[in-house]
């Protein structure tokens, strides 16, 4: 940062807080965090820091409720009404980039060399978006539960095998102390299923779509590995290990804390709150079902809309926001994983020996981004329905076949989504 520019910015800002400086160009930005006080506070801080740090740009923010954010953006895109800087969910990014609503970041990827892979949105060989944090999923458990049931504590290097995992569930079920051995959060049928459960499928050796071509799901989602996954998945519900799709929303939020469940498959955004309520909570890595242990990666990221006339200004802001101190502030505020090792050391939860440090390792070791394709939006929906149906007793092979047919038909009708 140029010193005179910096000084000038401070002077302008302190001299006339109310009057916008004439030289500054206004950039608009949309964000998904309306109603989230902590996120809004940190982001507003970054924006005001940025606005006073230089004299070329002022960023103004419009926040939207998260659950309807994508719909708002799609509608605005249709009506030709997008802002300069767009907040985009990692797995959705290829869809927006393909549809022409984003432009590649005019920033060299080397600027983000030490960022976790899940925080970088790359489509068609170009960097489109960068995240200020990543999220991870782990198996929440109590140390006391593990001790009582006589279970080995799995590690990232030596996770539970499929047999060990099922034995743990059996032990929890046999103890008779829990309503269910495992809570999967089945009531949330938004994007949670594909984020949280497709890594199980990948650990079995299957996938939502064939990643070598992205032109078909045949074999990936209905091959032998996927069939084995489907049977295992169904057994969780027919065997009474986990509550099904009709689980009430309260249980997912308080069930583990209140001791209704022995284990809970949950995201690290719940970790801080759970630690407050459960002293001896431990976060265990995903089991290995044969093809390695996997969890999903990729969270919210910043990109530049295609319509923006000032991509260089938007890029300035994104680079500014990606400083370690802000990454650390977000992590401390909302409990998510900071993207860089240096930022991690500045946080209370992710520094070496911090209570959530293992999530950083998890993200590095296990994380696999969701299929990088514009078709993911539809594929996630199809996958969600297939898993819900199987959980509710539908025939595994037929259901997976139907899902493959639907995904393939969708890819076909979209001309292959730009994959050659």
């Amino acid at each position: 940062m140029n010193l005179t520019k910096h000084l000038a910015g401070v002077m302008i800002a302190s001299a006339c807080l109310c009057v916008p400086a004439l030289a500054q160009t206004k950039l608009t930005m949309w964000y998904h965090g309306a109603g989230n006080e902590v996120e809004s506070r940190i982001l507003n801080q970054i924006i005001s820091d940025f606005n006073t740090s230089q004299s070329d740009w002022t960023v103004s923010i419009e926040s939207f409720p998260e659950k309807s954010y994508n719909d708002s953006v799609a509608a605005a895109a249709l009506a030709g009404n997008l802002p300069d800087i767009l907040d985009v969910d990692g797995p959705i990014m290829p869809n927006w980039a393909w549809a022409g609503y984003l432009q590649p970041l005019p920033i060299d990827e080397s600027e983000f060399a030490d960022f976790l892979p899940g925080t970088k949105g790359v489509w068609d060989g170009k960097l489109y978006s960068v995240g200020l944090w990543d999220a991870a999923v782990a198996l929440f458990a109590r140390q006391s539960t593990l001790d009582e049931l006589g279970l080995r504590t799995p590690t990232v290097d030596k996770p539970w095998s499929s047999e060990e995992f099922m034995a743990a569930l059996d032990a929890a079920k046999a103890s008779g102390k829990y309503e269910f051995a495992l809570d999967l959060g089945m009531n949330d049928q938004a994007e949670w299923y594909s984020y949280a459960f497709s890594p199980f499928l990948q650990s079995f050796g299957g996938d939502i779509v064939d990643r070598s071509t992205y032109r078909t799901a045949e074999g990936a989602l209905n091959g032998e590995a996927a069939q084995a996954f489907g049977k295992w998945w169904q057994s969780l519900f027919t065997g009474g290990y986990a509550p099904g799709t009709s689980e009430d929303p309260a249980d997912q939020q308080t069930g583990f804390i209140n001791g209704k469940f022995a284990f809970q498959w949950n995201g690290n955004w719940r970790a801080v709150e759970t630690m407050k309520a459960v002293d001896d909570v431990v976060f265990l890595p995903a089991p290995d079902f044969g093809a390695g242990n996997k969890i999903g990666a990729g969270s919210w990221q910043f990109g530049v809309s295609a319509k923006s006339k000032y991509p260089e200004g938007a890029a300035e802001f994104i680079k500014f926001a990606a400083q370690d101190k802000y990454l650390a502030a977000f992590s401390d505020g909302i409990g998510l994983i900071p993207p860089t090792p240096s930022a991690a050391q500045m946080t209370k939860n992710y520094k070496d020996g911090g209570p959530l440090a293992m999530f950083f390792d998890l993200s590095k070791a296990q994380a696999l981004v969701r299929p990088v394709t514009p078709g993911y939006v539809v594929q996630a929906k199809v996958f969600t329905k297939a898993l819900a149906d199987i959980a509710n007793g539908a025939d595994v092979a037929d259901t997976l076949d139907a899902a493959v047919d639907e995904i393939d038909a969708d890819i076909e009708s979209n001309g292959g989504y730009g994959h050659q």
Binding site: P243, T245, S246, D248, V378, D389, D401, S413
Partner: protein, 355 residues
């Protein structure tokens, strides 16, 4: 009555024009646009050019066929049976995913029935749509008469002169006031299979004999559960419409009936009911329309599950049009819904025409 009046073109148009112009601009025009979309492959977000595809979207939704499955036979040609004596059939997959039958490719089982030793399977290109179609009609057929009837009973109950009756009228209206989204959230707690309020109450009333039911988790109970909640939620509104209708019946008619010593039932049958004819049409139309538009309850409570037992047409139209970005497919569903309802009302009008 209008026929007795003179022709008044100018006034007629002037009075009707503002309303008609608004409806035409903001409902009819967009709907024509939606019909146009249903004939193309338009996506919500896509860089690909839009192509005219004719009736392909309609074929995708409506196509179905009947195939016959013959029992599996062993080498001796005998029918294979399992331990329970059930005849074993080959999997449908063997037909729908085989290159011998390209015409059935991608089709799925909708339902099947036994025909001698063979099984006949109706397979459809879009089973989810078919189920949505059936569920939607089932919903309307059950909810319209039950809700309308209960609302009338409530209206008659509330239409008496008692101290504090307006308090009750307000209370009965309460569920209407609370947004359907909120009501649906609340009923998820009530219908919960583990420790839901409904199960607790039923167990209490039956002294523990009642086995808890996972109301929204079982394909057989999910749709009835949503029907019950929907009836409960909107019955107060229709009570108010009936009530407005009751007010239009002249008290002199009741006085006359009382003088002639008519029983309560006779009064209802010969005074009240004939006076409510227009209201009855209105109530039925409103319930039917709301029934066909069933969406929020599904969206909040079941997402169409378990196993498609609560799929509905509008839910599918939204799921496809927005969720899956298939705006032409979503539009096609709404055009089909429109065509069906229009056909029904035309038939119904023809049947009840004044002869």
């Amino acid at each position: 009555m209008a026929s007795k009046l003179t022709l008044s073109n100018r006034t007629g148009w002037t009075f009707a024009l503002p309303g008609f112009a608004l409806i035409f601009t903001f409902i009819v025009l967009p709907f024509f646009f939606a019909i146009g979309l249903s004939l193309t492959n338009q996506r919500l977000l896509s860089p690909n050019p839009t192509q005219f595809v004719g009736l392909e979207n309609y074929r995708q939704l409506l196509d179905f066929a009947v195939v016959t499955l013959e029992p599996e036979r062993n080498e001796a040609g005998e029918v294979v049976r399992d331990e329970a004596g059930e005849i074993q059939y080959p999997r449908l997959r063997a037909i729908t995913r085989s290159d011998d039958h390209p015409q059935y490719r991608g089709m799925r089982e909708w339902f099947r029935w036994q025909s001698g030793e063979n099984v006949r399977v109706v397979i459809a290109n879009d089973v989810v749509f078919m189920k949505a179609l059936v569920n939607t009609f089932l919903f309307v057929l059950v909810v319209a008469p039950v809700q309308g009837g209960l609302a009338l009973m409530l209206a008659l109950l509330i239409n008496q002169k008692l101290r504090g009756i307006s308090v009750f009228r307000t209370i009965y209206f309460m569920p209407v006031v609370v947004s359907i989204v909120v009501v649906s959230l609340l009923w998820r707690f009530i219908y919960d299979g583990q420790n839901g309020l409904l199960n607790s109450i039923l167990q209490g009333l039956s002294f523990g004999l009642f086995q808890p039911v996972d109301w929204l988790g079982e394909p057989s109970t999910a749709l009835p559960a949503i029907m019950a909640m929907s009836i409960w939620q909107a019955v107060g509104f229709h009570m108010v419409i009936w009530l407005a209708g009751l007010q239009t019946i002249s008290p002199t008619l009741y006085e006359a009936a009382a003088i002639e010593g008519a029983s309560k039932w006779q009064t209802f049958r010969y005074v009240t009911w004939p006076g409510l004819r227009n209201t009855a049409v209105l109530v039925l139309v409103v319930i039917t329309i709301q029934g066909f538009a069933l969406f929020a309850q599904i969206d909040v409570m079941t997402n169409g599950g378990p196993r498609d037992s609560t799929q509905t047409l509008v839910f599918q139209a939204v799921e496809r049009g927005y969720g899956k970005q298939d705006i032409s497919g979503g539009s096609t569903i709404s055009v089909i819904l429109f065509a069906i309802v229009l056909a029904i009302s035309l038939i119904q009008r023809w049947l009840t025409r004044e002869r």
